[in-house]
Symmetry: C2
Subunit: 250 residues, 2 copies
């Protein structure tokens, strides 16, 4: 029997380019969905700069607070790729050239100077294990409960696809139901509170939308028990009808 | 004369829907650019759930660490909109019905139950000040160095447009130059390190790209001194040519 305790994760997004607004992060949304299927709840995310001091402090704080910590970004071959070095320092250990990662990188020939740069990506902390990279590029690594992955979305997604429930034991996946209506949030606020109070095991979120043909509200129910979700959905649908709206089901 | 010290900001994104992956945040990138024009550096962002305890702890931690803190999300009229209440608790103060915000909301007539819900959005903490909402909807508010704004991007952007350098004194805006080339990151890693070492006042980032017609690297320089940026750009362009690449300027 699985534990009822929520299994939690935190994503640390490392990169000046995300904080400057130059690059739009999409890794959080993707990883949240992957983890949810493993019964792991994405409970917090942090976006931090390429700063060794900040990476060390954030990783050490988050690995105490959450069951799993993921990082994206900063594992390439250039001077601004300082994630591996910083993680090793956070764990008070050293980096070493992982033989398997080195062999992978040496498969593609390159001039010596270029190979030296590429081999930076074969360094992982002592005590770490590789995370497979199905794109054929350099792998990520895991040390303790910290999973270090690429920042480029296609590569991060490939690495995430290699993780499974054996490596990341979780709980029950959260399921959702949603229904929308062309009713303002204020019109549904009071009856919604009443329904939420009777379904304390389901998280009921209310999200306004604005479209060309009018404004309205999407109501999203999230919980682990499908039967309770169906019961709550029926009540929310009835509430929308009572308020003079027309339920829009996905 | 302006201080040389970097003026910093942190964005706290409040919302289960961002953490679940259902909604893609775009507020970070937008606000980062707005703040940069005011000479304020977005130095961290956190995505946290709709949890009073978490909001209080995060706001209290971040308002000590950064010059400015912004929050997005959770200021609507429904039961899951707990940001204003949580911020008041973080500042150990109470919410009250702000007369100007109340008058604005009462301009649009509504049945009593609906009006009660809408007036929730006129509550701000004692000691706070309004943030104008040019969309005509309910305002945001500022208390101390914390700026509480809407989560819906169009509304957040309208609120952000009402903030200026009088309310948010900053430093010098960061400017950038960028150049790309169809060269792998490993090919430019060594000469790039050498250039970065000589330009310690400019942040040089290296970002791989993968396109149908090949892979390459974008090099982004960020700093406050335009002359130094131009000098560094010229060196990076020359380096690309030396490595057998063709510089692609914006």
């Amino acid at each position: 029997m699985q534990s009822k305790k929520t299994v939690t994760a935190c994503l640390i997004i490392i990169g000046n380019e995300i904080l400057s607004g130059r690059t739009q992060d999409t890794n959080l949304a993707h990883l949240a969905k992957v983890l949810n299927e493993l019964g792991i709840s994405m409970s917090e995310a942090r976006v931090i700069p390429d700063s060794e001091e900040k990476i060390i402090a954030t990783v050490n704080e988050c690995r105490q607070e959450f069951d799993y910590v993921f990082t994206t970004g900063g594992i390439g071959p250039t001077h601004d790729d300082i994630t591996a070095d910083s993680i090793a320092k956070a764990f008070e250990t050293e980096l070493y050239l992982h033989p398997e990662a080195e062999a992978l990188i040496r498969q593609r020939p390159a001039p010596e100077e270029v190979m030296v740069a590429r081999l930076r990506m074969a360094r992982i902390p002592v005590g770490g294990e590789l995370i497979e990279n199905p794109t054929g590029g350099p792998p990520g690594f895991q040390i303790g409960n910290v999973f270090v992955m690429a920042g480029v979305p296609a590569v991060m997604q490939a690495m995430a696809s290699s993780l499974d429930g054996d490596r990341l034991p979780g709980g029950r996946p959260v399921r959702s139901r949603s229904v929308g209506a062309y009713l303002g949030e204020s019109q549904v606020a009071a009856p919604l509170t009443e329904i939420q109070n009777r379904f304390s095991d389901v998280d009921l979120g209310s999200y306004p939308f604005y479209r060309k043909d009018g404004y309205g509200t999407n109501l999203v129910m999230r919980g682990v028990d499908e039967k309770r979700l169906e019961q709550m959905l029926a009540e929310v649908v009835q509430m929308i009808i009572d308020q003079g709206g027309e339920p829009i089901l996905d």
